[in-house]
């Protein structure tokens, strides 16, 4: 992992790391990746990927409406809103 990869990762996660902390962050991440990389040494071809550690399937509900809308409260909780909408920074170029 290098600085460019770190920069990309921080952008994707919308995170900031101070310039002076970046080397330490790279080192920590590197260690984490190495730990995960141990899995590559194993022959896992005969196993189905595990999609969920819970031994549960089929948690679902019937298609019936339940109204839990609290428009005013929802809008108020957001950083900025008007009477009807969430207001966000302009997102077209």
């Amino acid at each position: 992992m290098n600085k460019i990869e770190l920069k990309n990762l921080l952008f994707l996660a919308r995170l900031q790391v101070k310039e002076e902390d970046q080397d330490k962050t790279i080192e920590k991440l590197q260690n984490t990746f190495e730990m995960i990389d141990q899995m590559n040494d194993l022959d896992l071809d005969k196993f189905e990927p595990l999609n969920n550690p819970l031994e549960l399937t089929n948690v679902s509900r019937s298609d019936e409406e339940k109204n839990r809308n609290k428009k005013e409260e929802f809008l108020k909780k957001s950083p900025k809103s008007d009477e009807d909408y969430f207001v966000v920074p302009k997102i077209v170029e």
């Binding site: 990309n8 952008f11 994707l12 919308r14 990927p49 999609n51 969920n52 819970l54 549960l56 399937t57 089929n58 948690v59 679902s60 509900r61 019937s62 298609d63 019936e64 409406e65 339940k66 109204n67 839990r68 809308n69 428009k71 929802f74 809008l75 900025k80 008007d82 009807d84 909408y85 969430f86 207001v87 966000v88 920074p89 302009k90 997102i91 077209v92 170029e93």
Partner: protein
């Protein structure tokens, strides 16, 4: 294929479509909020759609059944186990910061549809949630977000790159539209965004072994634009390649006003969605019993409906095919044919009514012509209350105003004159006024018969019963 007429200047276009279809469930894919278009902003938003901390999505059985129905209708494999994944990206109309979708274990795989004799394969169809809606024209320097659409179930139908021309792409899209509307799993209304289409387009030389580099065109929101956008893109890529440059793999936006596609290349970084199985949702197994239940309740498909209309109403294959091309037309016909003569109804729907719809570019649903009223029109034609010619005027009036057929006929005195005595009087006067023509007819000028019919129609403003006029004229001219 003996001759390949899909080549453009010696280049073979290769096209695949990704079609997003909004499912017609009562509620959203993972929340119990109502799934409805056109409601007041942010009133159909659940805590789950808001992406508030601590909430858990729960899968909607209704959406699963609709996905299975699509799989059955396209002879596809239905997943034994399907898994939901997170697709991560930041956008203001996606409050969670990820979309729940299906990447490796979609609900439907390996389907096929017949597009006028050509098989187009469906790679997969998967369930996913729709995002909210952003609007940019409310304020000058800010955008606004309505989350009513957030979490609405989508079925994304991904075709194989089996399509070879823009025209074929439109036919395939229409076929998918036909299937989803017949299954009643979506209204397929492109103008309201309940069916949306992205096109992957590349070109190659006919003897090339590998496809060319493709561009993905987004934001195509009508059947007509699909054709235009793809044709523009094919020409653009030909120009690029023939000038010795390379086509870039990129996403392009179709601009219907300028009729062009343009690059959306604004990000420094390539898309990196970091898919992973959604830990909030457990795998979902689809049992044979559930598939059977859906199959037993599957709506009639176009081919079945066509066959049935031919059997029950003695329609010919062509007429039944035209009526069944669009479900709302077929349903309209069936409603009309409950009371009125079926063959006559078919003739008038395929002919005059379709002509009006095409001319005005209006769908049957949007028009003012309702089945019950149209049925009255057909009944009035078949019982000779009005002539076919007058019926056209009545239909025009219904088209304009939606007024009741009986009221139009009565109000404007359009009833056909089928009273023999009344017609006789008119005919006698015409014959008396045109003695020389009568003489000429009697001496062998048969063609003049049409002249007399015309005179009667003129005198009655087209209201005389044509059969009766013929009969009476023949008697009198002997």
């Amino acid at each position: 294929m003996a001759q390949n007429d899909t080549l453009v200047n010696g280049w073979q276009p290769v096209i695949g479509l990704e079609i997003h279809v909004q499912l017609q469930t009562n509620t959203k894919l993972f929340s119990p909020a109502k799934n409805q278009f056109g409601e007041e902003a942010n009133t159909l938003v659940d805590l789950i759609d808001m992406g508030l901390p601590g909430v858990l999505p729960v899968l909607n059985d209704g959406a699963v059944k609709q996905g299975i129905a699509f799989g059955l209708a396209t002879n596809a494999e239905i997943a034994k186990t399907m898994v939901f994944d997170r697709k991560n990206y930041f956008y203001p109309d996606l409050p969670k910061g990820y979309q729940i979708t299906q990447l490796h274990y979609p609900i439907v795989k390996n389907g096929v549809v017949d597009v006028e004799g050509k098989q187009v394969r469906i790679h997969q169809a998967h369930l996913e949630e729709d995002a909210g809606k952003s609007m940019h024209d409310v304020y000058d320097s800010e955008s606004v977000v309505d989350l009513n659409r957030s979490g609405v179930p989508l079925l994304e139908i991904v075709s194989e790159p089996d399509i070879r021309s823009a025209e074929e792409a439109v036919k395939y899209l229409k076929k998918i539209h036909q299937i989803i509307t017949y299954l009643d799993i979506s209204d397929g209304d492109m103008s309201q965004g309940s069916m949306r289409c992205d096109a992957n387009v590349s070109i190659m030389r006919p003897d090339d072994k590998e496809f060319g580099i493709r561009a993905e065109i987004k934001n195509i929101n009508s059947f007509r634009f699909v054709e235009k956008a793809i044709n523009f893109e094919i020409k653009r890529q030909i120009k690029v390649l023939e000038s010795g440059e390379k086509v870039e793999q990129e996403t392009r936006l179709y601009d219907s006003v300028k009729d062009e596609t343009r690059s959306m290349r604004t990000k420094e970084f390539a898309n990196d969605y970091r898919y992973f199985p959604c830990p909030d949702l457990v795998p979902h197994e689809i049992s044979e019993d559930l598939i059977k239940e859906v199959k037993d309740n599957l709506s009639e498909l176009p081919e079945e409906k066509q066959k049935r209309l031919m059997e029950i109403h003695s329609l010919n294959e062509y007429d039944a095919g035209v009526l069944c091309a669009d479900k709302s037309t077929a349903d309209f016909f069936e409603e009309v044919a409950k009371e009125a003569n079926a063959e006559l109804a078919a003739k008038w729907i395929i002919g005059d009514l379709n002509a009006l719809l095409n001319k005005n570019d209006v769908s049957l649903k949007e028009s003012k012509v309702k089945a019950s009223n149209f049925s009255k029109l057909i009944q009035n034609i078949s019982d000779n209350t009005i002539s076919g010619k007058i019926a056209k005027d009545v239909l025009d009036e219904v088209w304009q105003s939606g007024e009741d057929v009986a009221k139009i006929i009565e109000g404007q005195g359009m009833q056909q004159i089928s009273d023999e005595g009344e017609l006789e009087k008119i005919i006698d006067k015409i014959l008396a006024d045109n003695i020389s023509q009568v003489e000429a007819y009697k001496s062998g000028k048969d063609k003049l018969f049409g002249f007399f019919v015309g005179q009667v129609m003129k005198a009655t403003e087209g209201k005389a019963n044509p059969g009766l006029v013929n009969k009476l004229l023949q008697q009198k001219l002997g």
